[in-house]
């Protein structure tokens, strides 16, 4: 579906085409000015420079017991300058300097506040939670917004490795999953919320990764029982989102979603919730024509499948039977799905092409 199609079908008047192009061209224009890979280069540079800046702060302030206040002050100043540079600065260097300063400021600020509030990850999470909305609204830079949310998730992951880890893990999974589903349902403007959605999507996959490996043996027996419910929970969540995205498409669509929910739930119940999640993400990505999410899901699927091989709680024989039967069901599904005549108005080419 293109702007031309929208005009032909009467959704847009000819006089509105220029406005529509202007509204959608912002990303295209910035892509023409700076390809995605160049922005990635900026981000990597900011990481390197930020790492050296942290070294600068550490050597300048020192690690003495009374240095917390200095860390908080320097961190706050760096963060403020970084966010200001990202807001008002123009050009590659100011963007990169802004990101590097923000990165170093975040680390120094959190480090100092942890020292002041008490030496645990809980206080670090509180600081990240307070800074997150401030930085998110003040900074208009999508990378900075992504970092603001990602810092919260990083602190959450660290708490997952403490005594009460299981609670943090389960609440983190639920929260990241909900934010991701809401973001992908389109309930809020994508331009503003995309950074939070992407950060939460990655956090969701990381939490599933932690749950599928290390945690299972750490929190026996409670976790073992809970673990098998994660897959069906994830499959049902994705199915609800798909029902929303596909509403009004009739029985065939509902049937397809039900097949996913059953198959994904079964695979998750077998001990591979990550595989179920990636299958769901692939379908959602196709429903929203988000190709990069689709590829992320495919890469995640391969990684989770490899991890499933090393998952010790399920015997290789059981895993093998689950995989063979799921594979056969999918092959039968492929064999019986009739190739349709492609609509000339379809949104984007599928991942396969």
């Amino acid at each position: 579906m293109t702007l031309e199609d929208l005009q032909k079908k009467g959704f847009l008047r000819e006089s509105q085409i220029d406005d529509a192009r202007a509204l959608l061209a912002l990303d295209q224009e910035s892509e023409r000015q700076m390809p995605g890979v160049a922005r990635f280069s900026l981000g990597v540079g900011a990481w390197f420079a930020g790492f050296f800046l942290i070294g600068f702060i550490l050597t300048a302030v020192g690690l003495s017991g009374s240095a917390e206040g200095a860390f908080v002050t320097i961190g706050g100043v760096f963060l403020a300058i970084g966010v200001t540079l990202l807001r008002i600065g123009k050009g590659v260097f100011s963007d990169q300097l802004g990101l590097a300063l923000s990165f170093a400021g975040y680390v120094a600020g959190i480090f100092g506040m942890v020292g002041l509030l008490g030496e645990d990850f809980g206080s670090a999470l509180v600081v990240a939670l307070v800074l997150c909305p401030l930085v998110y609204w003040l900074s208009r830079n999508s990378v900075m917004r992504f970092y603001a949310v990602a810092w919260v998730w990083v602190m959450w992951f660290l708490l997952a490795f403490t005594e009460d880890g299981i609670g943090w893990l389960v609440s983190g999974l639920t929260l990241s999953f909900c934010v991701m589903l809401l973001g992908m349902s389109g309930w809020r403007p994508e331009r503003i919320w995309n950074a939070a959605t992407v950060a939460s999507m990655l956090a969701f996959l990381v939490i599933l990764w932690i749950m599928s490996s290390e945690m299972n043996s750490r929190y026996e027996p409670f976790f073992s029982d809970l673990f098998y419910a994660v897959g069906p929970f994830v499959a049902i969540g994705f199915a609800i989102l798909l029902l929303f995205l596909e509403k009004g498409r009739g029985v065939a669509s509902t049937l397809r979603i039900a097949i996913y929910a059953l198959l994904g739930g079964a695979v998750g119940f077998a001990g591979a919730p990550g595989v179920a999640a990636c299958l769901g993400l692939m379908i959602v990505a196709h429903a929203r024509s988000e190709r990069w999410v689709g590829w992320l899901a495919v890469i995640g699927l391969v990684a989770f499948l490899i991890q499933f091989y090393y998952f010790l709680d399920v015997s290789l024989m059981a895993k093998s039977l689950w995989l063979i039967s799921t594979g056969m069901i999918l092959l039968v599904l492929a064999a019986f799905s009739k190739p349709e005549v492609e609509s000339p108005n379809r949104s984007t080419p599928p991942l396969s092409s």
Partner: protein
């Protein structure tokens, strides 16, 4: 003229659901028409083709993974004879299936993928049953040799990549089990040799994928994977030189010269080729980024070697990193705008 071209470019771009949501939120499409628009969008999504492709591909992957898991279990209740029988029948059935479904390209290709995987499992089970004591590289080398015929017949790009992974694994294992212990090669030099081997495959792919009979080999993902693998292998020697030199050894040997020179040639030729030859912004950027990372590591090491406890040293290192990556970003943007000398291959999908 230019304006009308731009206009056409803007109106013919495929829209995502996020684009439509933006149009509705922007007030260009009314709320009532908005739900109609989203409904029309939903109808435009081709699900049947997508399900056919992915259910088929994932079904095959899950099924083959299940077979691998099954034989990895080394189930004691199953006699060795029965194991061999099952696997040999599976190999023969896959090849017969490929012959029977010659007209259905996708089924034929997946049958040959299955035959290739079953061959590997058969070799592994052979080692399991007879405890041959063979080195791991022999298993992978034999596997890559035996599956080669099916790889050639299948004309299926993912199977070629799979074959390359198996063959390169055999080479790395051979180096690890024979060449390095005997002192014939050092690990960094092994990586350089692997880089040269991968670049040879990359050159071969660049030449072949342009030819009509090899159109099935096209796909920018192959180029990106081969470029990434090449840069990884070639970067190990400069990396080791930066961080090990003067700690492990003070002498600059001929192996280091060869490795660093190979890396330098790879970066320069790769950047030039993907700008002026076959245009690929991503591949060119990977070369530039690889060079920048190595350069920043070199400068950081040089700067902080003496000044690691001095705040000024860290600050200068930070500014150098900013300058290097800022320069790299500006270079990528500039090179991305340059016109290639000749048009790109058919496999090129980037703009």
């Amino acid at each position: 003229m230019e304006d009308s071209a731009k206009k056409g470019e803007g109106t013919s771009r495929f829209l995502t659901r996020a684009d439509l949501e933006r149009l509705i939120r922007g007030g260009l499409v009314s709320e009532t028409k908005g739900s109609e628009l989203l409904s029309a969008y939903r109808e435009s999504i081709g699900w049947a083709r997508w399900i056919r492709f992915w259910a088929g591909s994932l079904g095959a992957v899950f099924f083959l993974a299940g077979v691998i898991f099954f034989f990895a279990q080394n189930w004691k209740e199953m006699s060795p004879l029965l194991r061999f029988l099952i696997l040999e029948v599976a190999v023969i059935a896959s090849v017969v299936g490929a012959l029977c479904f010659r007209a259905h390209e996708a089924i034929k290709q997946w049958c040959l993928v299955a035959a290739s995987v079953f061959t590997g499992v058969l070799i592994a089970v052979y080692g399991q049953v007879y405890q041959t004591g063979a080195d791991a590289f022999e298993v992978f080398a034999l596997w890559s040799l035996l599956m080669l015929a099916w790889v050639v017949v299948a004309k299926f790009a993912p199977l070629w990549m799979f074959w390359l992974v198996v063959a390169e694994t055999a080479a790395v294992l051979y180096a690890g089990q024979v060449l390095v212990p005997s002192g014939a090669l050092s690990w960094p030099l092994v990586h350089t040799v692997m880089g040269i081997m991968t670049v040879a495959f990359l050159i071969l792919w660049e030449l072949l994928s342009r030819a009509k009979p090899f159109a099935w080999l096209q796909g920018d993902w192959i180029r990106v994977m081969l470029v990434t693998a090449t840069l990884y292998f070639l970067s190990v020697m400069p990396w080791m030189t930066i961080f090990d030199f003067a700690y492990q050894s003070d002498e600059w040997g001929s192996a280091q010269s060869v490795g660093v020179l190979a890396w330098l040639i790879g970066i320069v030729v790769g950047t030039w080729y993907y700008v002026r030859g076959t245009r690929s912004v991503l591949s060119m950027s990977l070369c530039v980024l690889c060079a920048t990372v190595i350069l920043v590591c070199l400068l950081g090491r040089w700067m902080l070697d003496e000044l690691w406890d001095n705040a000024g040293g860290w600050l200068i290192a930070s500014l150098l990193a900013l300058a290097c990556f800022g320069g790299a970003t500006a270079l990528i943007v500039k090179l991305a705008r340059m016109e290639p000398v000749r048009s790109s291959g058919a496999g090129e999908v980037e703009s």
